[in-house]
């Protein structure tokens, strides 16, 4: 039977159809339609699991992939070597297993939630019992449902559903404002504890104390002449090169979020003292910077703080940080994001007037200027101040979710850097034949397509180079010749000398002298630059 909406979509089939559709289409509208179709067809638990899965909140892994491989080979009645060869060629474990198994004895329809509950119930169960349950499941699912079932076990639905896209679909489905939805989707929650109803209602719960606001992001500009209005409409600050963070002080608790929606409170214990200083009901937006003896240190110094599992006193001493604050999002327990920037900033200044300067908390200074032309001089001097350019913020702008043109601009010293996603790695020649030295990077298009746009050679430290090589081997999706396709997960900053239009590339863009400047371990894929950013750069550079 052909797979079609409505006709046969029962139980998990709805999710399966949605997944295939998201994978097959590159058009935003089609994706939104598919998401809405799904939302209007399934029970609430299935809605939440879908949202959870596509926002990285997958169910806990309860079965090891090693066992899955063994069991699949057994069930398919093939030797393990043949399973491994097949896996090697198919490149996806869930898919390999789904394709290898014999046809199902009888098809059973269960909802997504029911299958996930079954998978969760396997936790800490004896292996033989686990095996029996997994076999039963395989026996009752067709090939494409099995693929989904296996994915639910192993995780890794890497399908392009950005937070923005999800919020858009949910907003259309629920008739709630997309920015409200986006806010409710942030923070720490699990489909097990967060119901679809609570997503709709305005109720307070445990999770809402920790919930961050969606970050407001800046567009790049290349010339100040692009600024609209009068100089008096704008505030200039330095652009700091650290980790963007949102510090939340609510109900006697403190949380620190990175831009990648990652809770990084534990990585920066020095900020915990701030609870006694910052009044509850305050949310600060700023940059965590490596800072020692009154100087801002290069970005690498903060990497260890993020990558280390455990932050020891020694690390705190060797790699101290400060939180340099530039915006106030919540004050006296109220969301003040809709106030103009200049009002928020005034409140922020008042707050800082009462804070002792010995704390690892600083205010990002406002740079005075009368004419736009003066900004050029300020920008040129920015590196002496440990910054990488200027931020230009419209005084009247509200703090909206994501990017909005004409509100915040970043004007970097080196105008040409982008954060891009690693998708292919190619091994070198001769002595370096077993090392991956040549990397291909991609950005997302508005439609959610991952478009390769440049190759770049390593400009990484030796240590990082070894690390990335090991990572590539573990995260290969497919191989063709010397090239490996890897999971789109790592973000790198690419610097380049120029940007041109190119008919040859699918992205329509070619870079001159691209090189990898650094590995942005602090960024997740959703934070990388987009095709739109590149197109904007292209337009500006003409």
């Amino acid at each position: 039977m052909p797979i079609l909406w409505k006709q046969i979509s029962k139980g998990m089939r709805y999710f399966e159809t949605l997944f295939l559709c998201l994978e097959e289409t590159t058009k935003t509208n089609e994706k939104v339609t598919a998401l809405i179709d799904y939302l209007s067809s399934v029970p609430d638990e299935d809605k939440m699991w879908m949202i959870g899965i596509f926002s990285g909140r997958r169910p806990k892994r309860t079965v090891s992939t090693k066992n899955l491989r063994r069991w699949a080979a057994e069930k398919a009645a093939i030797p393990l070597w043949l399973f491994e060869e097949s896996y090697h060629i198919v490149g996806d474990l869930s898919e390999t297993i789904a394709l290898l198994l014999p046809p199902p004895a009888i098809e059973v329809q269960k909802s997504l939630n029911e299958w996930i509950q079954l998978i969760l119930s396997l936790d800490k169960m004896e292996e033989d019992k686990q095996r029996e349950i997994v076999f039963d499941a395989w026996d009752s699912l067709n090939t494409s449902s099995r693929f989904i079932f296996n994915k639910l076990i192993t995780g890794g639905f890497r399908v392009g559903v950005s937070q923005k896209l999800m919020a858009k679909a949910l907003a259309e489905f629920t008739h709630i404002d997309p920015s409200d939805i986006a806010l409710k989707l942030m923070g720490e929650w699990s489909p097990l504890t967060y119901s679809f109803q609570s997503l709709l209602e305005n109720e307070e719960n445990e999770g809402s104390h920790s919930r961050p606001y969606p970050f407001h992001l800046a567009y790049s500009i290349n010339e100040v002449t692009d600024l609209k209005g009068e100089p008096t409409d704008w505030v200039a600050e330095y652009k700091w090169d650290g980790i963007r963070g949102q510090a939340i002080f609510r109900h006697g608790h403190y949380f620190l979020w990175s831009r990648g929606e990652e809770l990084i409170t534990d990585k920066f214990p020095e900020f915990e003292h701030l609870i006694s200083v910052i009044p509850p009901g305050t949310v600060l937006d700023g940059e965590i910077l490596p800072f020692k003896d009154g100087l801002i240190l290069p970005f690498q110094h903060i990497q260890t703080r993020v990558t280390r599992k455990k932050i020891t006193p020694a690390i705190l001493k060797v790699n101290p940080v400060v939180f340099r604050v530039y915006d106030l999002l919540e004050w006296e327990g109220k969301d003040i994001r809709s106030k103009p920037f200049i009002e928020r900033r005034t409140l922020l200044d008042q707050l800082f007037a009462s804070i002792d300067s010995y704390l690892p908390l600083q205010l990002s200074p406002v740079l005075p200027f009368d004419e736009f032309d003066e900004l050029k001089i300020l920008r040129e001097a920015s590196s002496e101040n440990g910054s990488e350019g200027l931020m230009l913020k419209n005084k009247h702008s509200t703090y909206s979710a994501g990017r909005k043109k004409g509100e915040w601009w970043k004007w970097k010293i080196d105008p040409f850097t982008v954060d891009a996603i690693l998708i292919y790695a190619q091994s070198g020649h001769g002595r370096r034949a077993n090392l991956y030295t040549d990397f291909t990077f991609a950005v997302y298009s508005q439609e959610g397509d991952l478009l390769p746009f440049t190759k770049a050679y390593s400009g990484l430290t030796d240590k990082e180079f070894i690390e990335i090589n090991q990572w590539i081997k573990k995260n290969t999706l497919e191989r063709f010749g010397p090239v490996r396709k890897v999971t789109a997960e790592l973000v790198f900053e690419i610097a380049f000398e120029g940007i041109q239009e190119s008919k040859r590339h699918k992205s329509g863009i070619a870079l001159r002298f691209p090189r990898m400047v650094r590995w942005r371990k602090d960024k997740v894929v959703a934070e990388a630059n987009t095709l739109e950013d590149l197109q904007l750069l292209l337009k500006k550079s003409r």
Binding site: P2, L4, E23, S86, I89, L99, L100
Partner: protein, 332 residues
Amino acid sequence: MANKGLLVHTALGLYCPKADVYLDPWKPVKKAILSHGHADHARWGSSSYLCTPTAAPVIKYRLGDINLETLPFGEEKLINGVSFSFHPAGHILGSAQIKVSYKGEIVVFSGDYKTANDGFSEAFEPVKCHTFITESTFGLPVYHWQDQKWVFNEMQEWCKNNRNNGQLSILYGYSLGKAQRILQGLPESVGPIFTHSTIEAVLNVMRNQGVSLKNTVTVNEHLTRAELLSGVIIAPPAVQNSNWLKKFEPIRNGVVSGWMALRGARRRRNADKGFVLSDHADWEGLNEAIGLTGAENIFVTHGYTDILSKWLIDKGLNAHPLETNFEGDEVL
């Protein structure tokens, strides 16, 4: 090769020294016997060729003015005491397995084959032999074909959906083999079938040889979009990223190939939709065909040679991989 030297593996291809004949040679030779007309099997430049009568017209059309003889399925031709005969391989129209026998020793070269009957090509017939040289294009247990009826149904639903969305459906398949299979297999309800000119050329060669094929219309500038929307276009894969398609936007690309069984291949091919339909045997088909020959020696060519050989050895057969220059007609 362990067949008492009846066939040997040479740089030019499989060779029968006793008869001085090559099977599907890769370079020009004196006498070539061809399993079928795909470009990796039928190459230009040999002094004389032998193939089945149904395969002959397309081979002539593709290779030009060649010295070509035909031999009907099941009939024997003796060359210097060695007997050669063709047996249906079920791959495409006129495709054959080549049976070579001499003094009671039988070797069969499979060429490309599929065991399922597609209703258009002469259906595969197993041939008993001592040595079987088998292809292995899809020699991996992940390849398992659905009944073609199911696939054609899926195609029809897809075309219907696209039409409702105002999108033109384009199905990609090789002009020799896949295109005819799609044409004959699509249900009438998809509407008129439009073809790219390279496909139409092959169809016309077949029509001229008396094969009954459905009516088609070559895509031309006089056709309106509404007319095209009422049906479906069949085009060769090479066209997929060419300018030829620009004027048809919005379109949907449906790639018809066994490789479409894998998601990675679908993505790489930029297929909006992949239809898993192959003219090669799947894993079960290969194993079944190999078993039916009763052969004690198996040589595996053309595909996953190492993996299939190892599997056959595990099963107690005397199997060997045989590296060849066949590039495969279902390459991406």
